[in-house]
Amino acid sequence: MRDEFDLAGRTDEMGRDMELADVLRRLAPEHADPNYWMRFREWVVREAAGELARRRLVAHLTVSDVMSSWARALLPTAALAAALAGIILMRGPEDHLQQMVSVEELLVSDLEGETIPATLGPDTSGPAITFASEIF
């Protein structure tokens, strides 16, 4: 029968059971492979390279970086919009009316013949046509 478990004389200053620890360390990977932990760490760090790089990229982005990235897309669009608005404002309302007139002209310019019958027009040249019934 084994003696009752006794911590006295078997522990180090941290309270570790050194005898048990010595036995259990035989299960530790480095017991058979001294470079085990180095390879373990190298594998983890290598696999983590992508995530670490992503984090570096995010961490290095400052407020001005974010603003400038916005500006890159925003400024040309804003400049174009401003230019268009300026052109419209500079042309003014008269041009707008002229444009409307010219549009009317365009609408009738290619039509063949008179759009209004000559007999009904207001300033028909030539002899006036009168009807007998109209002469009193």
């Binding site: 003696d3 478990f5 309270g15 570790r16 059971d17 259990l24 299960l27 932990w37 983890v44 961490a59």
Partner: protein
């Protein structure tokens, strides 16, 4: 756990969050053994413990922003290790159920396994396997990795008194189980 002049965990965590490889590497170096021990306590297999521990560091890095108390990184990491290890065991159990009975599977021996005395390792593994999971974690973290009661209590989210109690019973059970093992603590004492 760590040397006093070494950077604190919270400092390393903050630097690792910014993608500093050296800081992350230091965290891995500091906790790789503990992570492996906890994973081994859950899986009972060295290969699975290695997989679970390594994966846990990668998961921890991905979720590093969720670590609300960087000064308690160790406890947070060990929670990830335990969960990953349990998931691994669950998956393997399902796989074994679907495929071959465990006894029929042939494992290719690793070089270190060949070099070891198989009988000794088997006895140690068997003795540890006889302990409850929490006792395995505590005895490995305390007696092998040198963690303090308070650190284990934080990492495993247990009262410090419970840790001491588990440690006491774990040691007692191990000594009883290892009693007939060549090179076991009390065996050597008797010889002397």
């Amino acid at each position: 756990m760590k040397a006093s002049e070494a950077p604190e965990d919270d400092d390393l965590v903050r630097r690792a969050r910014k993608g500093e490889e050296l800081a992350f590497s230091q965290l891995v170096e500091r906790y790789q053994r503990a992570a492996y021990s906890v994973a081994y306590s859950v899986t009972g297999s060295r290969e699975d413990a290695e997989d679970a521990a390594q994966e846990s560091f990668l998961v921890a890095l991905q979720r590093l922003d969720e670590c609300r108390n960087p000064e308690r990184f160790a406890g947070w990491l060990m929670t990830i290790v335990r969960n990953r290890s349990r998931n691994l065991v669950r998956r393997e159990t399902l796989r074994e159920t679907d495929q071959l009975p465990s006894a029929a599977r042939s494992k290719v021996p690793t070089p270190d396994r060949v070099a070891e005395t198989a009988e000794l390792r088997e006895m140690l593994e068997k003795a540890l396997a006889g302990l409850p999971e929490v006792q395995r974690q505590i005895v490995l973290l305390h007696d092998v990795e040198g963690w303090k009661h308070r650190e284990i209590a934080e990492a495993l989210e247990l009262p410090s008194g419970t840790v001491r109690s588990h440690l006491h019973f774990a040691r007692k059970s191990l000594r009883e189980a290892l009693g007939n093992m060549p090179g076991a603590p009390d065996q050597e004492r008797k010889i002397q």
